[in-house]
């Protein structure tokens, strides 16, 4: 009997939320889990590395194989309980705090005055936190995870250094390299990283899950299956990958 534990943020979260029905069965994490005798996917969208780290410390001993998606440093480590909701509210950056404060009447009408005050304070924290502390604690958590489970596959959302193996966003970029190649021409200085991409394109929830199109979920599923067999995450990935539709099927232009 082989068992699997998956940890991470939205890049591994296969659940639909109340306002965002998702393609759960096409998610790489769901498909991967289905190939094991038993599994648990602890990933939750918007959460910090600390959230996953806590889950990992408490549960890693239960699982033969572990996939840990390492979210970027600097997210607020807490979660907010929202009355009437099963899922936590997470505040992963300053913009998210501002958006919740602006639109809570439509999306989170049960938030209390105290919770709104807290979210405002979390927004301030994003502006004035100590980035050095965030990066250092991020590294210490990763070291601890590797120390406890050297066999775990750790995959970062973004490469912190050029020498790191491919990241989740490297996979996401394949869609754009395939469907909008003009963005990557040498003469076009527009888009080189995901942050720049994020400013121009918005995912269509109905055609993406784990921030990947169905086709990239297929690719990632195959790659991670192979990596779990070897125990090493160092895949060579294609620059392009066949997609059934054009870019507008998967993303809205902003």
């Amino acid at each position: 009997m082989t068992t699997l534990g998956i940890y991470g943020d939205s890049f591994a979260d296969d659940r639909s939320s109340w306002d965002r029905p998702r393609l759960t069965t096409t998610a790489w994490s769901y498909r991967l889990a289905m190939t094991y005798d038993s599994y648990e996917n602890y990933a939750l969208q918007g959460t910090s590395l600390f959230y996953s780290y806590q889950k990992f410390i408490a549960t890693q001993h239960k699982w033969d194989k572990i996939v840990f998606i390492v979210t970027n440093p600097g997210r607020w480590p807490g979660t907010i309980n929202v009355a009437g909701r099963q899922q936590f509210l997470t505040i992963h950056n300053f913009d998210r705090a501002q958006n919740v404060l602006k639109s809570y009447r439509d999306f989170y009408p049960t938030l209390t005055a105290d919770q709104l005050r807290d979210i405002d304070a979390i927004g301030d924290w994003f502006m004035h936190r100590d980035d050095g502390f965030e990066f250092r604690m991020h590294d210490l958590m990763i070291s601890k995870i590797k120390n406890l489970r050297p066999d775990a596959l750790l995959i970062h959302i973004d490469r912190q250094h050029k020498t790191q193996p491919v990241s989740m966003n490297d996979f996401r970029m394949i869609t754009f390299q395939t469907l909008v190649p003009s963005l990557f021409k040498a003469s076009n200085n527009l888009l080189r990283n995901w942050q720049m991409m994020d400013d121009r394109f918005q995912e269509r929830d109905e055609h993406n899950i784990c921030h990947f199109t169905t086709e990239i979920n297929d690719l990632f599923f195959t790659v991670i299956q192979q990596s779990l067999e070897t125990g090493v995450w160092d895949p060579i990935i294609p620059k392009t990958w066949p997609h059934q539709h054009g870019i507008s099927h998967y993303y809205r232009s902003i």
Binding site: F50, Y53, Q54, W76, P77, G78, R117, D118, A121, I122, D124, W125, M127, H128, R129, D130, G132, F133, R136, M137, L140, M141, S143, K144
Partner: protein, 260 residues
């Protein structure tokens, strides 16, 4: 030639940079310990977070043969504000942030925003489980890098430190116990003994207290610390037998006449 590096918060800071402590600095246990080494550097800063000391340690531990590290309590705001030519500004709790905002008139708008955020962080945003976990990870990293470092806790809340018996909170408490036991901190408190005393409106007398202790207690700590650095057994009896014939007012001054 032996070189000593001392890291920590107010319990290790000899305050040699403060004019009102000029007459007492030489009585600090950390200062005395430095004097018996060929060279030493005291990086401790009162009110600082463990992350502040951790950073100092990461950058400098390799230049010292011996290390004494006083681990401050968990949960202090990690960001320090650099001040040209002076020690950086740190804030150890919400009321401390407020106090700095009120007293330091020449702060820039940016630094005022940082301190207001620090206050809100203490009051609303801090996630205690995160603070404890990061506290433990930093301690583990220090121990990994320098297994020879002598590490002392302010308290035993985190549980990550070796049980050296010599805990600074219990040493400082030796003084407080006889006067105002209600100020003593315990494992379930979110406030240290010093914070409780401070919030009750008492201030240490700068000419009588250093490292949050009387000069006599500093001498006792120095003697035991010296033995630890020489790998000799320590003797805790002087602490448990410690009786100070002086009064509370010898060491603390009230800023509020309503105090007991």
């Amino acid at each position: 030639m032996t070189s000593l590096g001392i890291y920590g918060d107010g319990v290790a800071d000899d305050c040699s940079y403060l004019s009102d402590r000029a007459t007492i600095t030489a009585n600090a246990w950390s200062y005395l310990l430095g004097q018996i080494h060929d060279s030493y550097q005291n990086y401790a800063l009162r009110g600082s977070s463990l992350y502040f000391s951790y950073q100092q340690f990461i950058n400098t531990h390799s230049i010292h043969d011996k290390i004494v590290f006083v681990v401050t309590e968990p949960g202090r705001w990690p960001r320090s504000i650099p001040v040209h030519g002076k020690r950086p500004i740190v804030c150890k709790n919400s009321s401390h942030a407020e106090q700095i905002l009120q007293n330091k008139k020449n702060l820039s708008d940016e630094n005022r925003d940082i301190l207001r955020t620090a206050k809100k962080w203490y009051d609303l945003v801090r996630v205690w489980e995160h603070e404890l976990a990061m506290h433990d990870l930093m301690i583990e990293e220090i121990q990994r890098l320098r297994p020879d470092a002598l590490m002392f806790g302010r308290d035993d809340r985190s549980g990550a430190l070796p049980d050296y018996l010599l805990r600074f909170s219990s040493i400082v408490d030796v003084m407080i116990r006889n006067f105002h036991p209600q100020f003593l901190s315990n494992a379930h408190d979110s406030m240290s003994t010093q914070d409780k005393i401070y919030l009750a409106g008492w201030r240490e007398r700068p000419d009588r207290m250093i490292c949050h202790m009387s000069t006599d207690l500093n001498r006792l700590v120095f003697e035991q610390m010296k033995k630890l650095l020489m790998a000799q057994p320590i003797d805790l009896r002087p602490f448990s037998n410690y009786r100070d014939g002086k009064t509370w007012d010898t060491y603390y001054t009230s800023i509020n006449r309503d105090n007991p």
